[in-house]
Symmetry: C2
């Protein structure tokens, strides 16, 4: 498998004006899992029965894989401005290290750079890839807007929440898979299977994220748990609790949501309600359903070592501790 | 000629989530000259010898023309956030009417919408148009960054300034022309002529803008003159004055630049120095050179009523009072 980090490093940001390009280089050098471009490449490899490694096809797929990574980091840059987030992957965010205007403008340029990478796929695939990428990008922006909207709404259903995370997070993984398959010549049915795999993986991933924020072991999770509870974030755990609680538990939960100065007590109190209502198990069931749906897609694809990697990825994400 | 405003109105923004799309509808409904899409259509008409009106070609070119207008308005949305501008075309800016985060996110979506429109040009032209559009968009972002950089630099040459406005303003007009021509089947030489026409028109336009901000008649100019002088904006007038002034005039000019609480005196004082140094005439000469360069390009194109419109446009921009 190609080294994604090396491919990202080989993108040249040593250009003028430095004020525009240095923040892009900084943002892209900050690591991360490189999950999206990896998925694009594995999707292509699945379709090509593993012949990607030795063929020229890698050159056809790689620009699109990199475009998805650049796009993902563009969204982080602008999201961090909107959320006033000070840190990202352990380093200062761009708007802190430089300023808001830099994060806005360099972010805009990153989005354009993603489209420049897209334009490098084989000529007869450009129009198709552009359409898929545009649908993806629209979904992500819509998801971000729903996320903002939900913060200010008193009633959000679990279905609303799943729709929101589907757009905000899963659509990017779904199209990462589908675009890789499309360039590799996947049939429409195979493209759909790749898409659905990415979509359900993404949903399972986000649900697991919510669970770990409460039930993760701080040692393996890598950060303090309970952050979502303290900030009253409408996670699938809280929404499940609100939908299943009796009047008394609901009142207790709302009481804790008013508390702003007793973090430790609040985390313990809310977790205790979650435990009593079986929230963790209910959410794990939803997560496992999506993992199963993702795995079921793989039967519709050629069976080879790349398909096996996708199977392992789904299982790893479902049992991850961080 | 097709009614651009009607075509823009026919774009459908009545979509969910409203928080994302309503600001886009608002921004695009605020009028403006629609100069860029008009230029794209005229460029195509020139190449097709006026047959655009009756053909299906309009459907091929229109999406790209609209993409350029949507892109232009995207840049205004983000620029207004960065400049903290309260008004645009007499109405509240998006970040004032909503908030900064909305202006950032809806602006991002507008950029994506521009690419969605691009994807609607004929399939065999998509890759070519995408490349041209990406070059244009990169130029505009680079120009914006140079503009920011120049604010904080003590030494900016006239050449630096012309490079900056070429990127920030002219490149969009240049590619508006070239993309229209490209879709209409222009030869490379014709595309280059269309591009150069747009580039020089843009430079002349921006220089005239700087001149009018000092010498325009407030009655016809539509806004108070002297704003650039008050804010020490590095216009071509100020840069010309700094490059041509003797030590004494230079000291006097720098003195006025320190003054922050005597606007009327400052405007009169600086204008008096400009008059003494012949700054207006020097800048008008540069502007006329660019107008002449724009007009010279038209000789390389088919001669028809559309070419005549381009001739009139260049002459109108050069003698405009607002």
């Amino acid at each position: 498998m190609i080294d994604i980090n090396k491919a990202i490093e080989s993108l040249n940001w040593n250009k003028e004006p430095k004020g525009l390009y240095e923040p892009i280089a900084y943002a892209l050098a900050s690591g991360g899992k490189r999950l999206r471009p990896t998925m694009t490449l594995i999707a292509a490899e699945t379709i090509l029965n593993g012949s990607l490694l030795n063929g020229n096809v890698i050159e056809d797929v790689l620009p699109a894989a990199l475009a998805l990574e650049v796009f993902h980091n563009f969204t982080l840059l602008h999201d961090d401005v909107m959320d006033k987030a000070p840190l990202r992957r352990g380093r200062e965010t761009v708007h802190v290290r430089w300023n808001n205007n830099t994060a806005i403008l360099s972010g805009d340029q990153m989005l354009i750079e993603a489209y420049k990478l897209l334009a490098q796929v084989p000529n007869d695939k450009v129009a198709g890839v552009l359409n898929l990428f545009n649908e993806m990008a629209t979904g992500v922006c819509e998801g971000q807007q729903y996320d903002v909207d939900f913060e200010h709404m008193s009633q959000v259903s679990i279905d609303d929440y799943l729709m929101m995370i589907e757009k905000k997070t899963s659509v990017l993984l779904a199209y990462a898979m589908r675009i890789g398959g499309y360039i590799a010549g996947a049939t429409p049915a195979q493209q759909e299977a790749l898409y659905q795999y990415g979509l359900h993986i993404g949903l399972a991933f986000q649900i697991q994220d919510d669970i770990l924020d409460v039930y993760g072991d701080p040692k393996t999770f890598g950060k303090q748990t309970g952050g979502d509870i303290c900030s009253n974030k409408k996670t699938i755990l809280l929404l499940t609790a609100m939908e299943t609680a009796d009047a008394e538990s609901k009142a207790e939960l709302l009481g804790w949501m008013m508390a702003t100065d007793r973090d430790e007590e609040k985390i313990n109190g809310v977790t205790e309600i979650y435990n009593r209502l079986g929230v963790r198990e209910a959410c794990e069931t939803i997560m496992e359903e999506h993992t199963a749906l993702a795995l079921a897609q793989l039967d519709k694809l050629p069976q080879n070592s790349a398909t096996e990697s996708l199977r392992e990825l789904a299982e790893k994400l479902a049992t991850r501790k961080n």
